[in-house]
């Protein structure tokens, strides 16, 4: 079923429309979470959905994340397709056992005889001046786990389409929503044929160096690339879109052209997704790389209080610094 044409929409609203379209398209789709009903979620991503689809399909749950995911698994076993909201990144951990031990492994445990089409929406990342636990980027902790898929859109059109695809997927998908981009507007082209969910996209072409990022850092990388251009550097930007699987082919193609790669994410660098990209691309492009793959990301420290987050978060300057260092090889 085609979505309504939407024009310029903020990311949060694009997801809202995507959820609405999914609820319309398939009566088995459910929305679950804390405050997703009347309130429409703390970011209003589910705004109006309970009003239009009823309490039976848009479900305010008790305050218990393990309970949310555990019952979503049971609902999926009964044939439903639950889309669960975790209110903030830092609150997903009470559900971690159900996600890692049950949700990720049940399809394999059953030798394929059950499917768990559960989507877990997690508004993630920093930059909104919030208190502790409201600004984390835990994606590596999920991407390491076989049986899960992890994606993160960087713009409204992807937010719309990737959510629809995630809900249609028969696998559990952790859907990381870049919360500080919720209010960024973009055109949602509801008639376009979307790219496959796990395909990376070259969002800016260049020849000197490649920047790879996903979610909130794509915008940062695009701005960095624009700034670098003024200094005469041609920077290619790849939006990974998916952290599990990672579309290494697209990155490889880019790096074979540019010879240099910087991976950027908000999450701590240590054991982060940049490590996986660096390790694998180095293996694939050993003779093409003119510099080691560099990583820009969070430090090995808890996400700092809001008044330090600007310093903590990778921004234009730190990305450009890494570009300089890579080009210096």
């Amino acid at each position: 079923m085609a979505a309504k044409s939407s024009g310029q929409l903020p990311v949060a609203k694009a997801i809202n429309e995507s959820l609405r379209a999914s609820l319309e398209a398939d009566p088995k789709v459910l929305i679950m979470g804390e405050d997703v009903g009347k309130l429409g979620g703390v970011f209003r991503v589910t705004d109006g959905l309970q009003k239009d689809f009823g309490e039976d399909r848009v479900i305010d749950t008790p305050l218990a994340e393990s309970g949310i995911i555990g019952t979503a698994i049971g609902l999926a076993l009964r044939g439903y397709r639950p889309v669960c909201e975790i209110q903030f990144d830092g609150f997903v951990f009470p559900a971690y056992d159900q996600i890692v031990t049950q949700l990720a492994k049940m399809h394999a445990r059953a030798l394929g005889k059950v499917k768990l089409p559960v989507v877990i929406r997690i508004p993630y990342g920093g930059g909104i001046g919030a208190v502790e636990h409201h600004s984390e980027s835990p994606e590596a902790l999920f991407a390491h786990v076989a049986g899960l898929k992890c994606v993160s859109p960087s713009n409204a059109n992807d937010a719309y389409w990737m959510m629809r695809q995630a809900i249609e997927s028969d696998d559990p998908v952790i859907f990381f929503e870049p919360k500080r981009r919720y209010w960024d507007k973009g055109v949602v082209d509801s008639s376009s044929i979307p790219a496959p969910l796990h395909r990376a996209q070259v969002v800016r072409t260049g020849t000197d160096i490649t920047l790879a990022a996903y979610g909130p850092m794509v915008k940062t990388c695009l701005e960095s690339a624009a700034a670098a251009e003024e200094e005469g550097r041609s920077v290619e930007v790849v939006d990974l879109r998916s952290m599990s699987p990672i579309d290494f082919d697209t990155i490889q193609q880019s790096v074979e052209k540019t010879g240099r790669l910087v991976v950027v994410h908000e999450a701590p660098v240590f054991y982060g997704s940049g490590a996986e990209v660096a390790a694998r691309i180095t293996e694939r492009c050993f003779y093409h790389l003119e510099a080691p793959v560099l990583r820009v990301g969070g430090f090995h420290a808890p996400y700092p209080p809001a008044r330090l987050e600007e310093e903590y978060l990778p921004g234009l300057d730190r990305v450009l610094d890494a570009v300089d260092r890579a080009l210096a090889y």
């Binding site: 008790p62 555990g70 056992d97 049950q102 394999a108 997927s169 796990h198």
Partner: protein, 406 residues
């Protein structure tokens, strides 16, 4: 009779048609059973235990639960328990012979499992732990399916939907939430099926079980929580999990709890049936605590002599679930020599058949490692599968080259 045909009896309810339905697991029962105890140390007053058949094989009445079974139905329950025990013993010895890596015996818990298993309708759904071999039997699950994971050829692997019997769950307590979610789905579908979630006394401490109580109560989900309190969680006695009887937990979440003699198959059947009826009729969850005993080790890896006495075991032996029903059947003339002889033979055959099945159970194909990780595929799995195939092929090549070379 072969294993398959035995199992194929499926979920036909041996304790069936003639039973007078008990009153829904009554308000009163739970209400009066939830005294707050100010002192942790003192012994709890002996709570009421629903019993319909004493350890001595006497039929007794209970004010709230009753049952009236035909001789055939009673023999059916007896047969279920005997065959289940036999299957279990066979598995234990197969483990000793190295055919299984591990076995979790249900010895002593036959009445709890057969009584509850036979209370179910075909369209009800079961969420077991790793010890519900008797319930699996009632559901018609091929016993060799159960052995696969203990042998190490798979991690479960049967189709839960073919017998409405979910995969065994090893992580303690998790399945209580799955059961609750499934039950919520039943309500959404407007169906009148019910769900039963099994777990142990130890599991009652897990947060997931408490959250399942909360969700099921809030959504009034048609689920029966069936706790087999077998007195031990590996080496820890129930006092390490709770200082009051476990069934009392339910009242504080807003639904009834009842303790039943878990070694009395009639009482378990009656109580479970009532709880399922309660769920079906839109009245929400019930917690049934089946008070029973794990006669054997926790698993074949365990050594219970390190933590419990023979006396304790002996005391429980006197309450054996099979023995008491046999006494009753004999005393009342409900089963004759021929029945017992035939059952003995059937048991033997079951043992033989299980042994044969396990010994011919094929090892999984190496490449199964990469199968069923995702329903829709994953690029990395494809890559790793291809690389690993190539790697394995390199040995074949090497062998070949080596063969040619010499």
């Amino acid at each position: 009779m072969t294993v398959e045909s035995t199992a194929a009896r499926g979920t036909s309810r041996s304790g069936g048609k003639r039973t007078a339905a008990a009153k829904p697991a009554a308000k009163k029962t739970a209400a009066k059973k939830a005294p707050a105890r100010a002192k942790g140390a003192s012994a709890p007053e002996q709570p009421e235990l629903v019993q319909l058949l004493t350890p001595e094989g006497e039929r007794v009445e209970h004010p709230e639960y009753s049952i009236d079974l035909s001789a055939e139905e009673l023999r059916g329950l007896y047969r279920d328990m005997v065959l289940t025990r036999r299957f279990d013993a066979e598995a234990t010895s197969l483990q000793r012979q190295g055919e299984l890596g591990l076995w979790a015996s249900l010895l002593g818990q036959e009445a709890a499992q057969i009584g509850s298993g036979r209370a179910l309708r075909d369209d009800d759904y079961v969420f077991p732990t790793y010890r519900e071999h008797g319930v699996a039997w009632c559901r018609g699950v091929d016993p060799s399916n159960l052995l696969g994971m203990f042998r190490g050829v798979n991690n479960g692997g049967w189709d839960p939907n073919s017998n409405n019997f979910h995969l065994y769950t090893i992580v303690i307590g998790s399945q209580a939430l799955h059961a609750t979610g499934y039950a919520m789905g039943i309500t959404k579908d407007g169906a009148d099926s019910a769900v039963i979630a099994y777990f142990g006394d130890g599991a009652s401490s897990q947060g997931d079980v408490a959250e399942a109580f909360t969700f099921s109560a809030v959504y009034n989900a048609p689920v029966v929580f069936f706790c087999q309190n077998n007195q031990w969680a590996i080496s820890e006695p129930t006092e390490k999990q709770s200082r009051v009887p476990i069934y009392q937990r339910a009242a504080g979440f807003g639904f009834p709890g009842v303790r039943v003699d878990g070694n009395d198959v009639l009482a378990v059947l009656a109580v479970t049936r009532a709880a399922l009826e309660h769920a079906r009729s839109g009245q929400g969850p019930t917690l049934v605590e089946a008070f029973t005993y794990r006669m054997g080790a926790h698993t074949t890896s365990d050594d219970p002599t390190r933590y419990r006495t023979d006396d304790e075991r002996a005391a429980w032996e006197a309450k054996d679930p099979i023995l008491r029903l046999r006494t009753y059947l004999e005393k009342e003339g409900l089963a004759d020599e021929a029945f017992f002889a035939k059952l003995e033979k059937e048991s033997e055959e079951l043992g033989v058949s299980v042994r044969e099945k396990i010994r011919t159970m094929p090892d999984p194909d190496t490449m199964a490692i990469f199968e069923n990780v995702y329903a829709d595929g994953h690029a990395l799995i494809d890559e790793e599968r291809a690389q690993f195939s190539e790697y394995l092929a390199s040995f074949a090549d090497a062998d070949e080259t080596a063969g040619k070379g010499h």
